[in-house]
Structures are given as C-alpha cells and as structure tokens.
C-alpha cells in the first residue's frame, strides 16, 4: 500500500518539476541573457518540489 501511496504522491512532484522546467526553458528561449539567474531559480524551485517527493519516499519505506 505504501508503494502505491508513494506513486500517487510523486505525480504532484513530477508535475511541479515539469512545470518549472517548462517555464525555465521558455523564458530562456525568449531572453537568453538571463540564463544564469534563471538556472539558480530553477534549481531552487526544483529543490523545494523534490523535497516533498523524497519525504514520501522515506515515509513509504519506513512506514
């Protein structure tokens, strides 16, 4: 059951990182000069999203 729960939980994180990458790539295509700043913000945003998925992973393993 825990594994199924993790699978459901990771949908949200996958969508989140996907949307972040989509936004980063489209804005890089429009304005290549802000690439450096955007990369930092993108990594930050993915780190926030990824933490949720990882909490799910650990809970699924331990619970």
């Amino acid at each position: 059951m825990g594994v199924i729960g993790y699978g459901i939980g990771v949908i949200g994180a996958g969508l989140g990182i996907g949307i972040a990458a989509y936004g980063a790539t489209t804005s890089m295509a429009r304005q290549p000069e802000v690439q450096g700043r955007l990369f930092t913000v993108f990594i930050l945003a993915s780190a926030f999203v990824e933490a949720l998925a990882l909490i799910g992973f650990v809970v699924a393993l331990l619970g």
Binding site: G36, T40, I43, E50, A51, L54, F57, V58, L61
Partner: protein, 266 residues
C-alpha cells in the same frame, strides 16, 4: 522470477544497515559509521585546503591543475552563490557559506564511493547543519534590527490591521519550518539515493547468483538481465553524483537566501 520474491527481504536488510550503529562508544557519546566518515571528510577538507594555501603562496600566478581547480570551485561559490544573493554584504558572509558548501560537498561526494557512508546521510548531522544555518541568519537579523525589531520585521508593512498579524504568524511559523525543510531535504536526498543504488546492486547480484545452481541456459539469461540492472545502476550512480553536488549547492544557496531575507530593509 524467484529473484523478485527475495527482493523485499534484501531491501529491508539494506535499509536496516543504514541505521546509525556506533563504531566506538554508544549512540549518545560515540562515533557511528556516519560521523566516522564525517571526520574523515573534515580531515580531507583540511588537508586539501592547507595544501592549496601552501601551493598558492608558492607563486604569484596560480599554476597547475590542483590550484586552478580549487580556485575555480571557490570562485564559483563566491560568484554564483554569495555575490548574486548578497550583492552588498557578501564579504561578510562568504566564509560561513563557503564552509557549509565545502563541508556538505565533500561529505556527499564521499558517500557516492562504494563502501563509504556520507556524513550527511544521518538525521543528526543534517539537523546540526540546519541549526547552524538557522542560528546564523537569526543572528544576522537580530544584529541588524535588534531582538524585538527582528520579530516585528516579519510583519509586512502596508497591510490592514487584523490581516498583518495573521501574516506575521504564518511568517513566524515558516521561519521555524526552514529548520525542518533544510535538514530533511539533505537527509532524504542522501538516504533515498543510497537506497535506490543499493536496490539495483542487489537486483544485479540476485540475478547473477543463478550460476550457483549450475551453468544452464537459465543462468545465462540471468546474467543478461543482471547486466541490464548493472547499466541502470551506472546511470543512477551518475545521477547520484549530480545530486551530491546539487544538494550542497541548494543548501548553501538557501542559507544565502535566508540571510538576504533577514538582512533586507522592509
């Protein structure tokens, strides 16, 4: 395939081996396998930096791969991490953020080497790191605005009366939540990555062990499947090295962001 039936038991054994067990002393006052490798990482860091300092002082222009490599990493840390986030006061905060960055980086990279544990793979070390970062940015805020002023500065200006205290409460809560997210993010990344790597290594070894029953056609298909798992393991290994660097980057970047938030005028 009977290998998949044996998998859950093996994975449970693997996860149990990640629980901190003391090498010297007990879990209260002693050295667990994680802190043991943390001390080794600190020793490596000290040796690398002292050798770097000596070699750098030897000539005016940096020479050789070692000196230039270390300088490149420090330059990256200074430019991308600290200067971008703290344009005015980066000189003051650079030593702290660089220390955190190098400590986590070397610890994470040590964990990728087979047979070693990352110092950051246990909750104790990551909570301690998060606590250091937390105390540091609170200290910066208190030094700038005073104790009561810092608490009040969490309240937004220009918001009507009852709403601003609600926002203040949420801000206060999220400030303490930073402690949890900083530590849990680092710990979970290391823990989850090692469990995934271990699982694929176990799968590879389970399928190759068909040869124990004798050299048959089944054993050779098992070896083929094992090779497939090995390729996946190599891919995961590469991702894990990337994650080790990115997590060190994220931790120090977030510390810089929190210092910036504590410092800015509202």
């Amino acid at each position: 395939m009977p290998e998949f039936d044996a998998l859950p038991e093996e994975v449970n054994e693997l996860v149990e081996s990640f629980i901190a067990t003391p090498v010297v002393g007990d879990t209260n006052f002693g050295i667990t396998q994680y802190t043991f490798f943390m001390f080794i990482a600190v020793a490596i860091m000290a040796v690398v930096l002292f050798v770097f300092k000596k070699k750098q002082a030897a000539s005016l222009v940096p020479q050789g791969r070692f000196v230039n490599g270390v300088e490149y990493v420090i330059e990256f840390c200074r430019k991308d991490l600290v200067e971008d986030m703290l344009p005015k006061t980066w000189r003051q905060h650079f030593p702290f953020i660089a220390t955190v960055f190098f400590f986590i980086l070397i610890n994470n990279l040590m964990g990728v080497i087979p047979g070693m544990h990352p110092g950051t793979g246990t909750m104790g070390v990551t909570v301690a790191l998060a606590l250091i970062s937390f105390i540091y940015f609170i200290y910066v805020g208190v030094k700038k605005e005073g104790g009561w002023g810092y608490i009040k500065s969490l309240k937004p200006k220009g918001v009507p009366f009852p709403i601003d205290w609600v926002v203040w409460l949420i801000e206060l809560f999220s400030t303490f939540l930073r402690l949890v997210t900083l530590s849990v993010r680092l710990f979970c990344n290391m823990f989850a990555g090692h469990v995934v790597m271990g699982t694929f290594a176990i799968l590879a070894s389970l399928f190759i062990s068909r040869f124990a029953q004798g050299v048959t056609l089944e054993a050779f298909t098992g070896a083929g499947i094992s090779l497939l798992w090995l390729l996946v393991l190599i891919a995961i290994y590469a991702v894990e090295m990337l994650v080790a660097v990115i997590q060190a980057y994220v931790f120090s970047l977030l510390s810089a962001v929190y210092i910036q938030l504590a410092e800015e005028d509202e």
